[in-house]
């Protein structure tokens, strides 16, 4: 089935709702095409194209809810899936946390669909990979990478009159380049809604440069260092604060946002006052969907403003229980930065470590949001404003909350991708003092 237009989706969802006999029902439909090419050892290893469409209906009788899915869209199948969800609802135990579906909402026009990405051809995809492979071969290095792109739509309607529709495109690219002797390794990652912005050649050149300049890494003692985190390295730490913004967990006393005595840190200064973190679905460089899967509108929301926790995320159930606005979990996160380039940040550093990528991030203690992980694919020692030499990788144990209290300086914001969650962000490079490295790693 092709990507449905807004009118086609409306007509189809209206038909599904007309079959319903339940107290209330809600239907989501979505689909699209995605494609990927994976390569390693300077050669393509796998490629795939996935087309899928599916429709999900939830029917409710009182607080008993049943859900069914289908990927066939003829009238008989649509009616069948409605009946199936109703049968499941009748059999389900009551869910005391079920909240009646949302009424009609107003959404602003989305900006996250780019026609050029939707129009990608297999040849364009192959060319993007070929350019990356060419750079690696010319640099006498070995590349492994992954390119994926997608185009899709989503729509929803419920028996209370809510209707929402959106289309989206996206592409993510990552490449690891290793020297032939395996002594140096570099990485680059890019994410865009618009594939014409993707320059696999330059990205691979940067990864190759990191690989060749990280050969002959020296070991320096673990300990507390001033670090400059490139945006890709900062992303995997910062996103853990965002993932932990759930109000219910904080209210229940089991989050780094919980305080002794039962209160939360909402409204309190938690990090350096230069930290401003927000989400904005209409940001030109990081557009996201204007609504969530349960129909709530996404709005521009401040999460941390001048170091103060300004908002937490709520399920509709918990917001109703607490009598507050049900702010949904955000799609795209933006952190304000400064005016300096990465090079200028390095130039202003007397002694420090440049971290280009962090890897295998895991929670160590949810109470303090202590995380562990390692540097990877290019770590460098800085002295007197210059990169002096490559250094061996470190394991760190650090909390992003402590890190953002030890903020020295922020650079210019750029779009980056988390290697842990695959999410895209707009983040600055960050200079942080007293970042805790706890051991050395021999890994290249």
């Amino acid at each position: 089935m092709p990507i449905l237009t807004k009118d086609e989706a409306y007509a189809l969802l209206k038909k599904v709702i007309s079959y319903s006999k339940a107290d209330e029902c809600e239907v989501n439909i979505g689909g699209g095409d995605s494609a990927n090419i994976r390569y390693a050892r300077n050669s393509v290893s796998t490629s795939g194209v996935i087309s899928q469409n599916s429709l999900v209906i939830s029917s409710a009788y009182g607080k008993k809810v049943g859900t069914a899915t289908i990927n066939e869209f003829d009238d008989a199948s649509l009616e069948k899936v409605v009946r199936r969800s109703e049968e499941l609802a009748q059999l389900a135990p009551e869910n005391p946390e079920f909240v009646s579906f949302l009424g009609p909402q107003t959404y602003q026009e989305a900006k996250n669909f780019v026609p050029a990405t939707a129009a990608i051809t297999p040849k364009m995809r192959a060319d993007l990979v070929a350019q990356s492979l060419q750079v690696a071969k010319e640099g006498k290095a070995v590349a492994a990478g992954f390119l994926e792109d997608s185009v899709g739509y989503s729509a929803m309607m419920n028996s209370k009159g809510l209707f929402a529709y959106n289309t989206a495109t996206g592409t993510n690219f990552s490449v690891t380049v290793r020297t032939e002797d395996g002594k140096g390794s570099g990485y680059a990652t890019r994410g865009y809604n618009d594939i014409t912005k993707l320059d696999t050649k330059t990205a691979t050149q940067i990864a190759t440069q990191k690989a060749t300049s990280s050969v002959t890494a020296k070991a320096i003692e673990p300990g507390k260092y001033t670090v400059i985190l490139e945006p890709a390295a900062a992303a995997v730490l910062l996103e853990r604060i965002i993932f932990g913004l759930d109000a219910r967990t904080a209210d229940e006393g089991r989050s780094f946002l919980s305080k002794p005595g039962g209160a939360t840190r909402l409204g309190e200064k938690m990090v350096d006052e230069r930290v401003n973190i927000y989400s904005d679905p209409w940001n030109a460089d990081l557009p996201t969907s204007p609504w969530t899967g349960d129909g709530r509108p996404q709005e521009k929301t401040m999460w941390i403003e001048k170091g103060v926790v300004k908002n937490l995320t709520y399920s509709r159930y918990w917001a109703e229980k607490k009598g507050v606005k049900a702010t949904p979990f955000p799609d795209g996160i933006i952190m304000e930065g400064g005016t300096k380039s990465l090079e200028e940040l390095i130039k202003g550093t007397k002694k420090g470590v440049l971290v280009t990528r962090l890897w295998y991030i895991r929670d160590v203690d949810p109470q303090s949001l202590l995380l562990t992980g390692l540097t990877r694919d290019g770590t460098f020692y800085i002295e007197n404003g210059k990169i002096q030499y490559p250094i061996k990788n470190f394991r760190f144990n650090e909390s992003p909350v402590i890190m953002l209290n030890n903020l020295e300086e922020l650079g210019k914001v750029e779009r980056t991708v988390s290697v842990e969650s695959n999410a895209n962000y707009l983040l600055p490079p960050m200079k942080i003092r007293d970042f805790t490295f706890t051991s050395l790693s021999d890994a290249v």
Partner: protein
């Protein structure tokens, strides 16, 4: 099943949230979980359509997997059933070699015509990709098994147990935890049934019925005055067993420090939740560890994850060769080290074997996803690195004539590739219990259960936490510890393995959602071991204030 999908599914019951799960399976009625929609003879007919089509289009090899993947997840918190999800995913994946290159396509149109079209697509992809191919695929020979079948030797099919009975068990678990001082508790039961039919142009037609189960919970204790909170997870293991795993059996329990019980082939979930709640409360006031060197006593449900990360992944051949370089990384355990025949991975008592046959293990199947009969082989023998993990198109790289039989795809619509078999540490040969081991330690830490884990991209440097920690002083348990994590280097750690308990202490740890590849696929794998002692391991204190 995909890990991210599962996480979303487990916590949420509403359709809007279910939408991203289209690749995972459609919710179905409970009764449908007991159906077998196709007879074996019908599957064979459909498989032959794929094989004949592939051959007629010039493919030199083809295999077809007709897979029906059934899942049931039940999730609860405190006194509420939050979600019951029954899902089904049914379809066919066809893999071919044409022009010396792999091609793969899948379809959920389970008709002769649908299969024919998917096969044509697979051959077209193989031919198109052959221009990128440096060397043609070399397949190790495999025996033609004819028409055979295999079934996980379960005693009670979990899908035949009434869902209300299973939900009741979880609610009893939660009640026991709350009664014993837990502030919060969530519990889950995951059941998986893979009905897989494999056929290939090598002449095998293999019908398999595979079952896995994982009961688990998290208990939390909170001190609202101090703002402290502590968690204690279940000490169950995901297993390749039926519902019989949830029948308590005293003969399968092992006594452990702090009044804990540890479990072998039967799990007492209510008992474990009772102890968990008491331990979570105790953690709120337990002593914070003094950093330094300790002798670590690691029980199997903890050590399994360390084996998984520090031996399982680094000895995967595709990883050693660089195929995972852009994602999980490469490996310190290089082919040079393997071929040297003298790389000392561990001390002389360390014997680590791979297998896909241990009864009750997650990896146990009769035949892998490319029709190779499963077996056991050595990875580390008397401390020496002696073999890797390889499938049919990799065996020649090791100079071997046959596959190890560890090929797997998470679903019919994913292409099969090399996945970790069960990787297990053989128990010690002389009689030795965990109680004796503790008695022999002067300054040490006993760890039960899995915790935080992180390891570098070549698998040298790792850091592990755990579920419960006890201090050992002069051969005695001296109380519970908090804020413990140990850091080590793989080779140093395994060479400091000085003692392994005997087979009476041997049991399985499991990883239900092990991720690998881009796009990522999950697989389930077990790791057996007996409680083991590692001397002079660096322990750090992870306590921080924000």
């Amino acid at each position: 099943m995909k890990r991210r999908d599962f996480v979303q599914l487990a916590g949420l019951g509403l359709g809007g949230m279910l939408l991203p799960l289209s690749g995972f399976g459609n919710p179905v009625a409970e009764e449908a979980l007991l159906d077998f929609p196709l007879l074996v003879s019908q599957k064979k007919e459909l498989a032959d359509v794929a094989l004949n089509t592939a051959k007629s289009l010039g493919a030199s090899y083809a295999d077809v997997r007709i897979g029906r993947y059934l899942n049931q997840f039940i999730s609860t918190r405190e006194n509420k059933v939050q979600n019951i999800a029954n899902t089904e995913s049914f379809g066919i994946g066809v893999r071919v070699i044409a022009n010396g290159t792999w091609g793969f396509a899948s379809t959920n149109n389970i008709t002769a015509d649908g299969i024919k079209k998917a096969t044509e697509r697979a051959v077209a992809i193989a031919k198109a990709n052959s221009k990128f191919q440096k060397e043609p695929v070399k397949l190790a020979a495999v025996q033609s098994y004819g028409e055979v079948s295999w079934k996980t030797p379960i005693k009670q099919n979990a899908f035949e147990v009434k869902v209300s009975d299973k939900a009741d068990l979880l609610l009893r678990v939660n009640a026991a935890a709350l009664k014993n001082g837990a502030s919060f508790v969530s519990s889950n039961l995951f059941q998986i049934n893979e009905q897989k039919y494999f056929a290939s142009t090598d002449g095998s037609y293999i019908d398999q019925d595979i079952h896995r189960i994982w009961p688990t919970f998290t208990v939390q204790a909170i001190d609202r005055t101090s703002g402290k909170f502590k968690s204690r997870d279940a000490l169950s293991a995901p297993m390749g067993l039926g519902y019989e795993y949830l029948t308590p059996n005293d003969a399968e329990k092992l006594k452990a420090p702090g009044g804990m019980n540890l479990y072998r082939n039967n799990y007492d979930m209510v008992e474990d939740a009772t102890i968990a709640a008491q331990q979570a409360k105790e953690m709120l006031s337990a002593k914070s560890v003094e950093p330094g060197k300790y002798d670590m006593v690691l029980e199997p449900n903890h050590l399994g994850l360390t084996i998984h990360e520090s031996v399982g992944h680094p000895t995967e051949l595709d990883r050693i060769l660089g195929y995972e370089a852009n994602y999980a990384g490469t490996s310190f355990a290089t082919l040079d080290k393997l071929k040297s025949g003298n790389f000392k991975y561990g001390s002389n008592i360390v014997n680590i074997f791979a297998d896909k046959v241990q009864p009750g293990s997650l990896g146990a199947v009769g035949y892998d996803d490319e029709g190779v009969k499963c077996k056991r082989w050595d990875i580390i023998k008397n401390g020496i690195f002696v073999n890797s993990q390889a499938i049919r198109d990799q065996a020649h790289i090791l100079g071997e004539k046959e596959s190890h039989g560890c090929c797997y795809a998470q679903s019919w619509n994913d292409v099969q590739f090399q996945r970790m078999p069960n990787i297990s540490l053989a128990p010690g040969t002389e009689s030795y219990s965990s109680e004796q081991m503790i008695k022999d330690v002067e300054k040490g830490i006993y760890i039960a259960g899995r915790g935080s884990f992180s390891i570098d991209q070549q698998r040298y440097n790792f850091q592990f936490g755990g579920t419960v920690f006890y201090e050992i002083k002069n051969g005695q348990i001296a109380g519970m510890l908090n804020d413990v994590a140990y850091q080590s280097n793989t080779q140093e750690f395994w060479n400091n393995c000085v003692k392994i308990c005997d087979e009476k202490d041997y049991r399985l740890f499991g990883s239900f959602f092990d991720g690998k590849g881009q796009p990522s696929q999950v697989s389930a794998v077990s790791h057996g071991s007996a409680t083991s002692r590692f001397n002079g391991v660096n322990v750090i204190n992870t306590g921080r204030t924000i």
